[in-house]
Subunit: 206 residues, 2 copies
DNA sequence: ACCTGAACACCGTTCAAGT
DNA sequence: ACCTGAACACCGTTCAAGT
C-alpha cells in the first residue's frame, strides 16, 4: 500500500503524542510508517511543511458550526474553548501551533469567525482584529504553559519551590497553591473573562 | 585568557542576534568564543541550561526600580512594557524565553513585582496571580508574533494575502492593513488595555 | 580548574537509481 | 508516480587526556 499525504500527517500526529515535539524526527516518522527515511520528502518538501499540515489538521473543527443564537460573548468563549481543546488534544499541541506561520486554512477560519463575532457586536475592523489577536495570544500561551507543566512532572514543582525565597517572593509564596495551577480550566476562564470584560468596555464606548 | 560563565552567556546572546535561535548551536558558539567544541560544557551542563541563563540575563532589569508613585495600572503598564522591551532586545528573544522553564531569578522578580502591584490594588492572592499570568501570556505571545513576522520579511505578507479568499475571509480582508500590524506599539497597547480594563472590573467588584 | 581531540549516536535533506 | 539506498553536512553530548 502506497503512502498518502494524509497518512503522513496522521502518522506525524500519532508520533507527536508518543514522543513529543522534541522527539519527533523525520526518521522516526518514516520508521513508524514502515517506510525508508527519504520517503516522506516526496509528500512534504520539508519538516516545517509537515508540521504546518499537522498544526492545521489539529485545528480541523475549531470554526465549524458555531451556534448563531448565542450572544457575542458566549460565541467568543465557545470559540476560544474550541481552540483551547484543539491545542490540548495532542502532546505539545500549543507549541506545535505557535512554531508555525499563521495563514493555514483552519487557523484562518478561526480568525475569521472570531473577528465576525466582534464586528457583529459593533466593533470596528481594527478593534476586532486586535482584540482577536489578544484573545489568541492568551489561549495559545495558556495552553503552552499548561502542556509544559504537564511535561515536567515533579521536577517543575520542586524547582519552583526551591527557587522561591520568603524574603524576596512573599506574594508568590502566599499564592503557591494557585501558582502550580491545579485548576487549569478555572484558571483559563479567569483570564478569558478579563479580556472579554475589556472588550465589553470598548463596546460601551461606541 | 580563560573563559568565564558570563562570557559564555554574553557570547550566546550575541550569537543569537547574529544567527537567530534556530542557528544557535553549541559548536558555532564555541567557534565564536575561539574555543574548542566541548569547552562550553564545562561551564554549562547542557544547551538547555545555557539557554535558561541567556533568557534570564535578557530579563535583567525588568523588575528594577519601579516608580512607587504611579497608580497600580500605570505600574502594570510600565512593567509589562519593560518585559516587552527585554524580549524584543534580542533576536528571537520571545521564543527563547517561552522555551525555557519559568523559575529563573529575574523572571521570578518580574512575577513578584506584578503580583505585588495587583495585591496593592486590592486583589486577592489567587486573582492577582491569575491576572498576572494572563498579562504575561499576552506580552510574550505578542512579542513572539512580532519577531516571527520580522523574521519572515516579505514572504509572510505575500503568503497571507494569497491565502485570503474574499468569499471566506471578508472580515480579515477588510482589516488587511491592520492584520500585518504596521503599528506594533499601538497594537500591543490595545490588548494590554483590554486586560487592564478587565482587572478594573474585578477591583470594582470588591 | 579548565580545555582539547576525538568519538558516539543522532539529525534534516538530497538525489540517483529502482519499480 | 512513489520509494529505496546511500550519502552530505551537520547536530548535542561525553570523556579520556592534556595543561
Amino acid at each position: 500500500m502506497r503512502l498518502t499525504r494524509d497518512q503522513v500527517v496522521a502518522g506525524g500526529l500519532d508520533l507527536l503524542d508518543e514522543v513529543g515535539l522534541d522527539g519527533l524526527t523525520m526518521r522516526r516518522l518514516a520508521a513508524s510508517l514502515g517506510v525508508q527515511n527519504g520517503a516522506t520528502y516526496w509528500h512534504f518538501s520539508s519538516k516545517q511543511a509537515l508540521l504546518e499540515a499537522m498544526a492545521d489538521r489539529m485545528l480541523a473543527d475549531v470554526a465549524a458550526g458555531l451556534d448563531a443564537g448565542l450572544p457575542w460573548d458566549g460565541r467568543i468563549v465557545e470559540t476560544a474553548r474550541r481552540l483551547r481543546r484543539a491545542l490540548l488534544s495532542r502532546r505539545d499541541g500549543a507549541r506545535l501551533f505557535s512554531g508555525v506561520f499563521f495563514p493555514l486554512p483552519n487557523a484562518l477560519a478561526y480568525g475569521e469567525t472570531m473577528i465576525g463575532v466582534l464586528r457583529d457586536a459593533g466593533l470596528g475592523a481594527r478593534d476586532a482584529v486586535w482584540a482577536v489577536d489578544a484573545l489568541t495570544y492568551y489561549v495559545v500561551g495558556h495552553a503552552a504553559e499548561e502542556q509544559l507543566a504537564a511535561a515536567v512532572p515533579e521536577a517543575a514543582a520542586d524547582r519552583l519551590t526551591a527557587a522561591l525565597d520568603p524574603e524576596r517572593h512573599p506574594h508568590m509564596l502566599a499564592a503557591a497553591d494557585d501558582l502550580a495551577a491545579p485548576h487549569p480550566e478555572e484558571h483559563f476562564t479567569y483570564g478569558l473573562e478579563l479580556l472579554i470584560e475589556g472588550i465589553r468596555g470598548k463596546i460601551r464606548q461606541l
